[in-house]
Amino acid sequence: MPLIIKDEYPENLFREDGKRLDGRDVNELRPIKMEVGVIKNADGSAYLEWGNNKIFATVYGPREVHPHHLAKPDKGVLRVFYRMATFSVFDRKRPAPGRREKEISMIVADCIEPLLFLELYPGTSFEVFIEVIDADGGTRCASTTVAALALADAGIPMKSLVSALAVGKIDGKKVVDLSGIEDKAGEADFPIAITWYNEEISLLQFDGDMDLEEMNEFLDLAKNALKDVHQIQLEALKSKYIKLQEETIQTKENNDKKGDE
């Protein structure tokens, strides 16, 4: 059904001052905010805001596999379910999960699986649920990033975190961290994830047009930017432990006070 306003894209993706439409430089990230432990019912959880993306991830596991026939005798099973809220995009998304959601679930799973020691958990499963409540370009990368955080929050042993972002080409220039508009109106989109324990690429997709030299430049550009994303992830985890520590101190102080009374 038609909408009153169209989802139109601008002719130019750079302003006259050479900055991108949202004021960023070519190699500048959008604002990123991460937090862990946000959903009390889950074994682990994380929340991320990345530009206008707003994404929750929760982890349940290791737990019994349901349905049973999916269990594997020699290792744990990782299952990722990526979903988008109906109101997370310009045109209301239909409530039922679509092919795109299944595809991204698979992509995120491929990025997370190398991080885990699934062989230590035969017969069990880890379920990762990702819910995008506001989407703005780069959701698959942002989801990979926040899913890794949620796993860490659950205290599941991991080789390292994984971080992901998209580089791309807009108006002929290479940029990092495509926004929603840049993703749709640009010439090329190149989502990349790096697993930090071996510094290797675990997500790689490209649609566009590039020669070899360009590809090499993209890869280097992405790696540099991903280091910053990784740093933000680590800080989110750190601040959880600081908070826990403070709570412990607080509790101790309270108890001490009580003792005084």
Partner: protein
């Protein structure tokens, strides 16, 4: 707090019930007391209105989307407002993936009826051009954390979302037979009239109490939800196998009007009106 990740055991049930019999609740509340409401509005950039509502640890994010369509032939100058709910698997280990289950259907239905029968959404204001074009509004609720009493949290979430609305205002172009943008926005001020509140009570054996938490919900025999406007009861929905005697129903009707008044004042939802014009 009790571990909500598994089915409540017999012992826990007995503990909850024996507390209730002493008019005490496991989280320290009185029988007719709500947990704390926390409300943020317009949090979703992609939505034309939204709310992030917590009721204790229960948290629901609600968003508004719109489409323009033809009106129903029998209501040529009225728009449509639909309510959907999804209990996300992120929200609880008790939920499963898949098509909407009974609980999310109930959540959507009770909230929808609370709104529909209280003259809340001004469907005639959602008409762009008689017989030709009306707004279809989608109020979609996503349960982010499930800690009991989704209905009352969802009711406040849906209402806040509608109040915070900012929908592109359309004008009918009779020549081209299309709807065009006026450059302005339709807001909650135009769309929302009445503010119906829904209150849900649990019943265990012969004890009735407001706003069941998750452990209470898991052990209770049944629930009843009552929607009220300033002075009227506009919707009732009993669920579960509990039965109520007629005096209990009469008492709950009276209680609901009273609690509704208090809530209306305390939450002051009109503060969330969008300022976009």
């Amino acid at each position: 707090m009790m571990d909500v990740r598994r089915i409540i055991s017999k012992i826990e049930r007995d503990y909850i019930v024996s507390n209730l019999k002493k008019e005490e609740r496991i989280d320290g509340r009185g029988l007719w007391e709500y947990r704390e409401f926390q409300i943020k509005s317009d949090t979703i950039t992609s939505a034309e209105g939204s709310a992030d509502v917590s009721l204790g640890d229960t948290r629901i994010i609600t968003g508004l989307k719109y489409e323009v369509g033809e009106p129903f032939p029998d209501l040529p100058n009225e728009g449509v407002c639909t309510v959907m709910a999804e209990l996300l698997p992120i929200a609880s280990p008790l939920f499963e993936r898949g098509p909407p289950d009974e609980q999310s259907i109930e959540l959507a239905r009770v909230v929808d009826r609370g709104i529909r029968h209280a003259d809340c959404v001004q469907t005639k204001q959602l008409c762009i051009k008689e017989n030709e074009a009306v707004y279809i509004l989608f109020v979609d609720m996503y349960v982010i954390n499930y800690a009991g009493n989704l209905i009352d949290a969802g009711g406040v979430g849906a209402l806040t979302t509608l109040i915070s609305a900012h929908i592109p205002e359309g004008k009918w172009n009779d020549e081209k037979k299309v709807t065009e943008w006026t450059g302005k926005y339709l807001t909650g001020k135009t769309i929302v009239k009445e503010l119906p509140f829904v209150m849900t009570y649990g019943k265990i054996e012969d004890i009735i109490f407001l706003d069941p938490s998750l452990p209470e919900e898991l052990v209770c025999d049944g629930k009843i939800s009552i929607s009220v406007t300033e002075n009227k009861i506009t919707s009732i929905q009993k669920s579960g196998s509990a039965t109520f005697n007629i005096d209990e129903i009469k008492m709950l009707g009276s209680k609901s009007l009273e609690i509704g008044k208090k809530l209306r004042k305390e939450l002051n939802l009109l503060q969330y009106l969008s300022e976009i014009k």
